[in-house]
Symmetry: C2
Subunit: 133 residues, 2 copies
Amino acid sequence: MTYDVRPVGVVQSPLTDPASAPKQGVEGGPEAWLAFDAAVAFGLGDLRVGDDVLVLTWLHLADRSVLAVHPRDDPTAPLTGVFSTRSSDRPNPVGIHRVRVLEVDGNRVRVSDLEAVDGTPVIDVKPVIDGSR
Amino acid sequence: MTYDVRPVGVVQSPLTDPASAPKQGVEGGPEAWLAFDAAVAFGLGDLRVGDDVLVLTWLHLADRSVLAVHPRDDPTAPLTGVFSTRSSDRPNPVGIHRVRVLEVDGNRVRVSDLEAVDGTPVIDVKPVIDGSR
C-alpha cells in the first residue's frame, strides 16, 4: 500500500546546490518564497506575517534507499540509523522546516531561514504548537 | 507530478475511533507500539529508550479535499484555512507526533502519548532538534 503525495507548491530560493545548503535553517538558511498552487489558496487565508509555521517539503533529490548515514556528512562520525538523524536521504524524504512568515502576496508566501533548495516541492504548512519543531 | 509515500510501519494502539481520539498527544494520547517493516530495521538501530522523537504518520482516514475547518471541531470557531490549523483533513495528511521512546523490542518500538489511531501508517521517525515539534 502506498499513498500519493501531491505537492501544493514549490520553494523559490537562491539556494540551488544541495551540497552547499545549510543542514538546518537555523544554521543560516536564506529567505525564500513558497509559491502555492491556486487550487489550495483557500487554505492559506489565515496565514499572517509573523506566524511561526512548519513547512513540510518532499526532498525530491534524496536517496530513498539509504538506512544509515554518517551524520552531517562527516566521514569520521559513526554510521547512524537514519531514524536517529535528520538526513534528507531516508525512505520517505519529508523535510520539516520551522520558519517565520515574512510576507503574504496572493498565493506566494515569503519565509525566513529555509534551507530547502530551489524547486523543492512543498506538501504542507502547519502552525507551530509549542515553540519549536 | 506526485510522489509515492511508502509506509515503513504501522501504529498499534488501543485507540480505534478517530472521533474520540485526543486532538494532540500532549492532551492524553495513550502509549502505542510502532511496528516497523523488517526492511527498514537497519534504520532503527540507534533509537534508544528515552529518546524524544517526531513520528510522522500518513493520516489515512483524512479528507484530502478539505481546505478550511472549524478548529477543534468546534462549530462556533471561525472557519480557518487548514494551513493555519493542525486538522488531519488537509491536502497531504502528514501527522507529526512528538513522543518519547519507552521500549525497543526488535522492529517494534513502544512510545508515549500518541494520538494516532490503530492501523495508521508510519512514514518516518526523526530526532527532535530543539525541544519540541
